[in-house]
Symmetry: C2
Subunit: 451 residues, 2 copies
C-alpha cells in the first residue's frame, strides 16, 4: 500500500548528494502524497532532510511538515535558512501553525511570527486568542468567501483566480460587509447552477455553525453527527473565523478516545505517540495515579486490622478476599466503562442521569444473582462450611449490585463537579469497591456465622 520503497529512497539520496538541479527531484517526488513524503523524510539523515526540504516547493514542504509533531516541525524550521523557513511557514495551514506556536516557548514563537506575511500573521494572532483545544484554534482560515449578489459564473471566475492558494475548497461561504456569514453553497451546487444565477438564490441560509470557543470534543461530535465535510466557526461577535474540516476532526476524535482510554487505564493521558514519548514522561504520568490509588487502597489495611479477631478465628475468611474484591471491582468497572464511553460520545446527556443509575442498578441486580450462585458453589468446592459459603454468596450478591450502581453514580457526579468522567478509571472503581466489599463481607460474617 505504501508507495515508498528503498530504491526511491536511494535515488533521492543520490540526487541530494550530487546537488542535482531540483527539477530531477521534483520529477521523482511529484506524485507522492505529503504523508509519504513525511515517511521518506524520516528515513533520511539530518543533512539530507534539510537539503530535501529546501529543494521542494515551499507548499510541498509545508504539507509534509504538517505530518510531524510540533517539536520536530520546530527542529526543521529552526535549522533551515531563514528565507526557506519563512516560505514554508507562510504555506502551512493556519491550524497547523497555531498548534506549533502553542507548543513552543513564547520567544521561539515570536521569532517565527516575525517571518509571517500580513494578513496571515494577523489571522494567526486572532486564532491564538482562542483557548487551546477550542474550535476557534482548530479552524482553517484558508476558505473561499463570496458575496450574495455574485453570479455562479462570477464565483467560478473568482475561484480560478484565488483557487491555487486557498486550502479548503468544498464549500463557498457567503459573507456580508461586516464579515458575518449569511449563507453557504457547496462547490457541487455551484457547478450545477445556471451561470447567471445569483448566489443568494441558491445558497443555504439555515446554517449549522460552531461557536469559536466550543471545546474541540463537542465540536467534533457536531461534525460527526451531521456527516458534513466541514462546519463554519463563528466568533462571539458573529464573525466568520474559519472552517473546521473533517481531517482535523478525525485527529480530535482519535486524541479524545486516547485520552479517555489512558485515564480509564489509570494513568494521566499521554499526548505524544508511543515511541516519541520518553520513559521519564511515562513515569510521571503513571506514578501520580499509582500513588493516589495506593493511598485510597491503604484503607483496606485498616478495615482488615479492625476485623483481626474475626480473621484469627476463621482464617478461611481470608481465602475469599481477592475473589470478592476483584469481582466487585470487575462489575463496577464494566458499568463505569460503558457509562463513561456513552457520555463521551454524547449518548448520555445531563438530563439522563437518574435514568442511567436506575438502569445500571437493575442490570447489577440481574448480574448479582447468577454470580452469587456460582460463588456459593465455589465455596463448597473449596470445602468451606455452609455458613461461610452463604456469607460469601450474600456478599457477592450485595456487592455486585452496589458496585454496578456506584460505577454509574461516580462518573456522573464527577461530570457534575466539572471533572472528566474518565478519571473514574477501573483502578479507582476497584479501589472503592474493595473497601465497600470488605465492610459488607465482615458484616455478613458476623451475622451469618455468629462471630
Amino acid at each position: 500500500m505504501s508507495v515508498i520503497d528503498i530504491s526511491l529512497l536511494e535515488q533521492i539520496r543520490s540526487l541530494l548528494e550530487k546537488q542535482e538541479p531540483p527539477a530531477a527531484l521534483l520529477e521523482l517526488t511529484g506524485d507522492l502524497q505529503p504523508y509519504d513524503l513525511s515517511n521518506l523524510l524520516t528515513n533520511l539523515d539530518t543533512a539530507e532532510q534539510f537539503l530535501l526540504l529546501t529543494a521542494l516547493p515551499p507548499e510541498r514542504s509545508a504539507e509534509t511538515l504538517g505530518h510531524f509533531e510540533p517539536v520536530e516541525q520546530y527542529r526543521f524550521l529552526d535549522h533551515l535558512e531563514q528565507g526557506v523557513t519563512a516560505a514554508i511557514l507562510n504555506q502551512m495551514s493556519s491550524d497547523t501553525v497555531v498548534e506549533l506556536f502553542s507548543a513552543l516557548h513564547p520567544l521561539q514563537t515570536e521569532q517565527l511570527i516575525a517571518l509571517l506575511h500580513e494578513p496571515f500573521r494577523r489571522q494567526i494572532r486572532d486564532q491564538m486568542s482562542y483557548p487551546e483545544n477550542s474550535a476557534g484554534s482548530l479552524a482553517t482560515v484558508g476558505y473561499i468567501a463570496a458575496r450574495r449578489w455574485w453570479t455562479a459564473d462570477q464565483t467560478l471566475a473568482h475561484l480560478r483566480k484565488v483557487g491555487s492558494t486557498t486550502e479548503f475548497y468544498s464549500y463557498i461561504y457567503i459573507l456580508d460587509h461586516l464579515g458575518e456569514l449569511v449563507g453557504v453553497l457547496s462547490l457541487r451546487q455551484l457547478i450545477l447552477a445556471d451561470p447567471a444565477t445569483r448566489l443568494e438564490e441558491i445558497m443555504l441560509q439555515k446554517l449549522i455553525t460552531v461557536p469559536a470557543d466550543l471545546d474541540q470534543e463537542q465540536a467534533a461530535q457536531m461534525v460527526a453527527q451531521y456527516d458534513l465535510t466541514a462546519l463554519p466557526v463563528i466568533s462571539r461577535e458573529g464573525k466568520m473565523v474559519g472552517v473546521l474540516t473533517v481531517d482535523d476532526i478525525i485527529d480530535v476524535i482519535e486524541e479524545e478516545a486516547t485520552e479517555d482510554i489512558h485515564l480509564l487505564g489509570g494513568s494521566e493521558p499521554v499526548e505524544t505517540p508511543y515511541f516519541k514519548t520518553s520513559l521519564g514522561t511515562f513515569f510521571r504520568k503513571r506514578i501520580v495515579w499509582l500513588l493516589v490509588l495506593f493511598v485510597a487502597e491503604a484503607f483496606t489495611g485498616n478495615i482488615l486490622r479492625h476485623y483481626e479477631v474475626l480473621l484469627t478465628q476463621v482464617v478461611a475468611l481470608s481465602f475469599f478476599i481477592p475473589l470478592l474484591v476483584d469481582t466487585a471491582g470487575n462489575a463496577g468497572t464494566q458499568t463505569a466503562t460503558l457509562v463513561i464511553r456513552a457520555m463521551s460520545v454524547g449518548e448520555i446527556r445531563g438530563g439522563d442521569f437518574l435514568k442511567v443509575v436506575w438502569r445500571e442498578m437493575k442490570v447489577g441486580l440481574t448480574l448479582a444473582l447468577p454470580m452469587a450462585a456460582v460463588t456459593f458453589l465455589r465455596a463448597m468446592m473449596l470445602g468451606s462450611p455452609t455458613n461461610l459459603g452463604l456469607t460469601v454468596a450474600a456478599t457477592i450478591l450485595v456487592i455486585i449490585a452496589v458496585s454496578s450502581t456506584l460505577g454509574a453514580i461516580m462518573p456522573i457526579i464527577g461530570k457534575r463537579l466539572g471533572l472528566d468522567p474518565a478519571v473514574f478509571s477501573s483502578p479507582l472503581i476497584t479501589t472503592v469497591a474493595d473497601a465497600v466489599g470488605l465492610l459488607i463481607y465482615f458484616q455478613f460474617a458476623r451475622l451469618l456465622m455468629g462471630l
Copy 2:
C-alpha cells in the same frame, strides 16, 4: 446550536394532521439538515412519522433514515407503502443499504432487494460479497467516473448531467475500459484547469488505494494518516469498487474506539447506542466476562488455602493482600492500556514487540522503587514488625516490575495469536497480577520472616 425547536415541531404536526399539500411541508423543512430531520422524526408519534417520510422527497427521506440504526430503518421501510419504500431505498447510499441488509434476516433482505432498480441492485449484491466491516462493504458506489481523453469542459458538462443523483463529489475517478482506475482528479483541479485540457494531462497517477478486503480499522487509519477526504477502494481483480469517504471513516474510528474501551473495561463490546440497548443485551455482554474472570480469580482461593498455616501464624499478612494485589493490578493495567491503545492507532507495529517489552520493563522497575518505599512506610504506620514491612515492600518491588512487563507481553502475544489485544482488559490483567502477586508474597514471607 440545534435548529429544531418546539414551534417547528408543532407546525409540522398540524400540517401533517390537516393533510395539507406537501408544498407547505417542503417549505418548512427545506433548509433542515438530514440529522436535524432525524431528530425531528424521533419526536413525532408513529402515524406522523410515516406521514412525514411519505410527504418528503424520497432523497430527503433516504438521507434522514441514514441517521438511524438498521433496526429502526427497517421498522420505517417495512410499514411505508411499497412504492414509497422502493423510492426511498433506491435513494439511500450504497454503504447504508449494505449495512441495513447485513443486519436483517435474509428473508427481509430479499424482500427489500427486490425493490431495488438495476444497476443499483447488482452493485449492492457485489458489495455484500465483501466481509462485514471490510473496506469493500463500507464503500460508496455513487462516485463520478470519467475517461482519460475527456477534456475538462466535457467533464464539467458530464457532471452537470449526472451530478444531481451522484452522492460523492470531491474527486473524479478516471477508469479505463475494463473498469480499472488509472487516475484521479479533484473537483478543485478540474475547475482550475483550462477547459480544453484532457484529463490524462492533469490527473494524478500515483494513487493511494485501499484493497476491498482490508479490515475497516486499518482502512480508517489510512484515510486518517493521509488526511484525504476519500480513498478509492479496489477489488482483488484491480477493478474500482467505490470510494471510502471520510464521514464513514469517522464512524469507524468512533466504533473501533468504543469496542476497545468496552473490552478494556472487561465486557463484550456493545454496538448499539446506550439507550437503544436492552438490559438483556447488557446482561449477556457482561456476564460472560464476569464468569471468565471469576473462574480465573478463583485460583487465588487455592493459593491462599495452600498457605493457610502461614496465614494462621501471622494473621497480619492478610491485612496487605488487597493493597498488594490491587497495586500490582493497577501497574499492569496502566501498561496494558498504553500499549493496547498504541497498537490500535498503529503506533506500535509487528516488529516493535521486543522493544516495547524492554521499555515497559524499564518503566516498571522505575515505578517499583518509590512504590516499595511508600509501602514500607505504610506497613510501619500500621504498626507491623520490620520483617513484615520488608516482606510487603519486597513484594511490591517485584510485583510492579513483573506486572508492568506482563501488561506489555500479554496483549502482544494475544495479537500474535490473532486475538484483539483489547481483550487483555484491566480486569484480566488484575486477575493474573493477583495470582502472581500472592505467590511472590508468600515466598518472601517464608524467606524474610523465617516462617
